[in-house]
Subunit: 765 residues, 2 copies
């Protein structure tokens, strides 16, 4: 932002760097090696993805029956993606124009307009590209996985995981390449302190696309699922996945566009936004680490890629092994390698400050804790799911009540874990930055915040593998559907069922991981926002011919001030309203599916007789249109609400005696009004807290209902068809839009709020 | 607290009063008249309650059949209340001992120990007494209302409202008397500035009892309801309210102990805690208004009592009128009179500062807005309930999904209203305190906060009438049950059904009102906490022989500091965990009911044949025991969690470099560590935000499900017995623990958090 103009144009060093003595500029030269390592690893990731993709595509494609079903899924998914990206592209271009105009309107931001808009568009494009190519492979891997499952479960598992790894590697690789190349392009080698601030557009572009991808995909997948079930099972009385149901292909398409493309975009923006945020904090520590501190986040992602490639390649198991066990072994290997890499990075880049490695370990441990807690609440072998299944004996109402009670309980442990992780990594950060070079002084606060950033990077250091495990879910789910619809023998179905069960678990775990990283990263992104505001203020004051005291910082979000409290209240409110909108959107879009299926049955009586085929594509097209229409309003709300609050409060607060109590140094309050910036900060933070808790309720509650149904289907309490099972189906259906639409969309919302406030920060001061 | 010791013993003026020049002490004398007016009105309220009670008790008691049922309900309710109060009394005494010991342990707090513990016990006793006497009348008014309904609906309506008015008047009257007399007793006439701080124990006592009363009553009522339904309707196949069901009396008892005693305790603590909070802020404005500013909150409650007596007495309607219409007319009359009284109070006590009247009007308008919004979301004539009813056509799952989507939407408008009310009343406060006497200087911030306090008082200025309307609910509900069980003619049932429907609406509206006042009061109570901490710091610094700068204030809760953020996160988490516990408690207690009913059917086969009567009392006793056991853990959590956080952070933060960034003046940080106090403040504020939103979701979602079922029972979508109705029953059952256990308990939790932090503030510094 402003700071970067300042630093780039007028040679004013940004942010807290003003505490420090500048380093001799010659110290930079050799360190840029790490930049090229990072960019090189990004290229390597794409090459590895290509190799994995080739090995998947080369595999056997099964029978003609199977291929026909798979190609219907593929066509539907591609049609949805094409239309969805068109809609998103239009919105992105409009927003880019608004952004450009907004930046151009103020003399201070004008020089940055091009860079911000360019990085925004690159971020959006990379996010779209990683979602698209990931799905490109997934919708082909499903068929190969199904074909392999006819002979061997291990072979099928490997294929599905490799298909998933393509998504994981492309996501992390593109994020690394995008940020690395923009850094070079914007002159980061000459101006390493300033350029990270110019990359915020990249994060915003990524999260904007992610929000719409997750929302649109999430609405699509559950509208198709609920609609197909209601009209097929309830009205027409035909079983699930019956080829006579015109919505059945739409349902299978949904798994890909919701889980696969949606989560890919989610984790793309995590890795993008959190890398940029950590680079901004690294820029603030420039006097300590030089450019190495700024490049550290990129090197961590390079490690992530290397460790994940080895982890995925090492996965092998016996036919009789529990697939989840096999997948977890790969995860442990990846995590261990990431830890080693992290230690090496601390050695080479962070001056052997081993307390910072400890902060990274806190992040890795947090990811393990989140995964375990999610397992506890959503797996059938633990008490929560068992209690929900037992409640099904007394009907749907007690099932729902128990599930909601479990869901509301789920945020407790994660909140304690996050609190512990924040406190510990803060402490390690402070310890890690003791004994600074002579003349360099950093407040404990900034040291601690840097510790939390390192912990976040630690948590993300196995993201590519996690993402591979996640995409494994829709691939095996689809493979199961293909096997089911093409009437394969019983033992083949057994294999795909086992793989599908593991896929359900990995999907749940990834959601736990994604929300954990969102929670831990909240502070990092938040600090980046504070830094950005600080720089804008500094520049405004300097432009007016004054100088801010060097020790003034913008790190005071006073909740006891009314506008700040109002910002906090509205931030928390947004998470409820957004969830409500997402859930009702599913209902409305499902309604459209039902109408079309009814119409098809009426227009063409041959469908039910099995003499003619339903028009799958028409149904796919209708639910596509409905989902895309429904995603616009909640998405727009998420962008507009923080902007409105920030602009309103920054302009009206003085007139209405509502200035917050932030202590600008005396004599500057006529130059700068921080009320808007402060209330937006509270909006962001409390919105994040509320969003995290609500998302955990919905993800874990939904997952627990799903598995309680599966538990009963194993034969408990009368098994399939019993009253308990009917009650369990109600819970499962309620949980669907929770865990696959609203919950995951909330993850993305939280990060979008962080990036939109970063990019639009100049408007709030 | 400390301040009061200081002020009482060492003549140091408290809080922001230190900004001001002291007034000549002679100015106090005549103004104490207002104190006696307030106390006198408190006595008047109790007398009026006595008169209303006598007129209710003198009414016709109907047939022997009806009396038998009513006396079973009465005995059950009294047995529950007796055991509940015994449990609460034990906990209160233990806590009083801990409080006494805690205060005694520090030399600075020791002189206050007696006063705090005494006011705590008085507050607890008054709260218990108001709950008990209110219920004493209600469980007798139900029979008289039923008897009157045999001839006239208007007569029945009047009786029920008068029965409710007894609760309303006793609650507000006892609160006024308790605070007024303690003020006199603690030497408030001589030391008006110091004594308000010594009254915090009263608020804490009131909210502690309220929490357990609401939790225990809420668990009881829904456990009995759900248990009776599941075992009666589902297992035994007998209709609702069938006398053969051993749990039927427990169900009717529940309406009284949950809705009636619970909400009475809730609003008792509102009026107590918010009065004390407003008096603390009034003390801070002592140089402007003298003792009048401190007595203003009491005078507002005196107005409340007068206006409500007239409002209740004025209620009359024709037989054909909609009962809700008749009740609302009384509410409008009360509100109008309260407004007039408020204006008079501003004239006599607040120096004709009419902007402050405007702040009061904001409060009154807020109460109207909350009532309207609640009506919109929970009444059958509006779209939300209709959409839920329509969703029942596609089954229980879509009903639940739609209901949850509506519930999640409900916080949006209220959050905007609260934001507007806070901003406006802040602005009016600033304007109202312009043109201060020479030499008096007050920061805009304090003026604005006082404005929000005035708005809260405005909102509470019709509390007694609102409470009468609320208690109207369980009285008419019980009257309906008595009519049903004693086989009265059809037209009598019609009358009680209409009254019951109105009662359901008033119960929903009161919940909206209660949550609105909790939201608006959050700032008031929060400011009182900040003031208290400020005084403690001041005294600690002075005890060490230093002097704080006069312009230093503790009004900075920096959300960007890690311990503060952690406090905020855990505060929000508590609201989820607490709700989860409350909801699962209902399930477990209902389980006990089911077991007992099954056992009774087995032990005594004559019950089902109708040849012998079930043992109602045994079932009442079992659910009583279960509910009381279940209320202890969530209650304890609510008290212990903020204390643990405050104490931990204040003791560990320095050692772990976790000190918050609050700017104590230089040179004092070795004397005082504010990290604990700050993180508790964030815990309180963000817990309040999260609690308000969650409570609205649950109250309104539950109310909407209930009325969607009622809408279908009018004949829509096939009416009673249809598939849509079955789906609607599931929603209604899910909504029960939402709207009658967890939601209302959250109101009380929010206020308990505020009072527990006020009382234990000395531990956090």
């Amino acid at each position: 932002m402003f700071a970067s103009i300042a630093a780039a144009g007028f040679h004013v060093s940004p942010g807290i760097a003003s505490f420090f003595e500048p380093l001799p500029s010659g110290a930079l030269g050799s360190d840029t090696l790490y930049l090229w390592i990072a960019i090189g690893t990004g290229v390597l990731a794409l090459l590895a993805a290509l190799l994995f993709a080739r090995s998947v595509l080369a595999a056997d494609q099964g029978t003609a029956d199977m291929q026909e079903i798979a190609s219907a899924i593929r066509e539907g998914a591609e049609a949805f993606m094409a239309r969805q990206y068109k809609t998103i592209a239009i919105m992105a271009v409009v927003l880019a124009a608004v952004l450009y105009g907004g930046y151009l309107a103020y003399p201070l931001t004008a020089p940055l307009a091009m860079k911000v808009v360019f990085s925004f568009l690159v971020g959006a494009a990379c996010s779209g590209l990683s979602g698209y190519t990931g799905m490109f492979v997934s919708i082909r891997a499903n068929l190969r996985t199904a074909a392999a499952a006819r002979n061997s479960m291990t072979a099928a598992l490997k294929l599905a995981l490799r298909g998933g790894a393509v998504t994981g590697l492309i996501v992390v690789g593109l994020s690394l390449l995008g940020i690395g190349l923009l850094f070079v392009l914007f002159g980061g080698i000459a101006n390493p302190e300033a350029v990270p601030y110019q990359l915020v557009g990249f994060g915003f572009g990524a999260s904007l696309v992610a929000l719409f991808a997750q929302l649109g995909g999430g609405i699509y997948t559950k509208a198709a699922d609920v609609g197909a079930d209601l009209v097929g099972k309830v009205e027409a009385g035909i079983p699930e996945d019956d080829p006579r149901n015109p919505a059945v292909i739409a349902d299978l398409v949904g798994d890909n566009v919701g889980d696969c493309a949606g989560r890919g975009a989610d984790l793309f923006e995590s890795s993008a936004a959190e890398s940029v945020g950590a680079m901004i904090l690294g820029a603030a520590l420039f006097p300590v680490f030089g450019i190495k501190g700024i490049l550290f986040p990129l090197i961590v992602h390079a490690i992530n890629i290397g460790a994940s490639i080895i982890g995925v390649s090492s996965v092998r198991g016996k036919e009789t092994d529990d697939p989840m066990h096999t997948l977890n072994r790969g995860f442990y290997i990846t995590s261990f390698l990431a830890l080693l890499g992290f230690a090496a990075a601390v050695h080479f880049l962070l001056q052997d400050r081993w307390w910072l490695l400890a902060a990274g370990v806190v992040g890795i441990a947090t990811s393990f804790a989140f995964v375990s807690i999610t397992e506890y609440y959503t797996e059938t072998r633990y008490k929560p799911v068992q209690s929900i299944a037992a409640a099904c004996n007394t009907g749907a109402a007690t099932n729902i009540i128990t599930g909601l009670a479990v869901g509301m309980q789920t945020p407790a442990l994660p909140a304690v874990v996050i609190s512990g992780a924040l406190l510990l990594s803060y402490y390690f950060g402070v310890r890690g930055l003791e004994n600074l070079p002579d003349g360099v002084m950093i407040a404990d606060y900034y040291k601690g915040i840097y510790g939390t950033a390192i912990a976040t990077l630690g948590m993300l250091s196995s993201a590519a593998y996690i993402l591979a495990m996640d995409t494994f879910g829709p691939i095996t789910d689809n493979a199961g559907g293909i096997i089911e619809m093409s009437n394969q023998p019983h033992e083949v179905r057994d294999r795909t069922d086992r793989l599908d069960a593991a896929g359900n678990t990995t999907k749940a775990l990834t959601k736990g991981y994604a929300i954990g990283s969102a929670a831990l990263a909240a502070f990092l992104l938040f600090s980046a926002y504070l830094e950005t505001i600080h720089n804008i203020v500094k520049h405004k004051v300097e432009a007016a011919g004054f100088t801010l005291p060097v020790d003034w910082t913008f790190s005071n979000i006073n909740l006891a001030s009314i506008p700040v409290f109002v910002g906090a209240l509205l931030g928390a409110m947004l998470t409820y309203l957004f969830s409500s909108m997402a859930i009702s959107a599913v209902g409305r879009a499902a309604e459209k599916v039902i109408e079309d299926v009814r119409a098809q049955f009426k227009e063409n009586p041959g469908i039910m007789k099995g003499t003619s085929k339903p028009d799958y594509a028409r149904c796919v097209s209708i639910v596509t249109g409905a989902a895309l229409k429904e995603m616009v309003l909640p998405g727009a709300l998420a962008v507009l609400m923080p902007v409105t609050i920030g602009v309103l409060f920054s302009h009206l607060s003085t007139r209405f005696h509502l200035k917050s109590s932030t202590d600008l140094p005396e004599g500057f309050s006529h130059l700068v009004n921080l009320t808007g910036a402060e209330s937006v900060a509270a909006f962001l933070m409390v919105g994040t807290i509320s969003g995290i808790l609500l998302a955990m309720l919905m993800n874990n509650g939904g997952g627990a209902w799903d598995n309680a149904k599966k538990l009963i289907e194993t034969g408990l309490y009368g098994g399939k068809g019993s009253d308990a099972h009917k009650a369990a189906v109600v819970g499962d259906t309620v949980g669907d839009p929770f865990k696959d639409t609203a919950g995951p969309s909330l993850h993305v919302l939280i990060k979008l709020l962080a990036t939109v406030t970063l990019v639009l920060a100049p408007l709030f001061v």
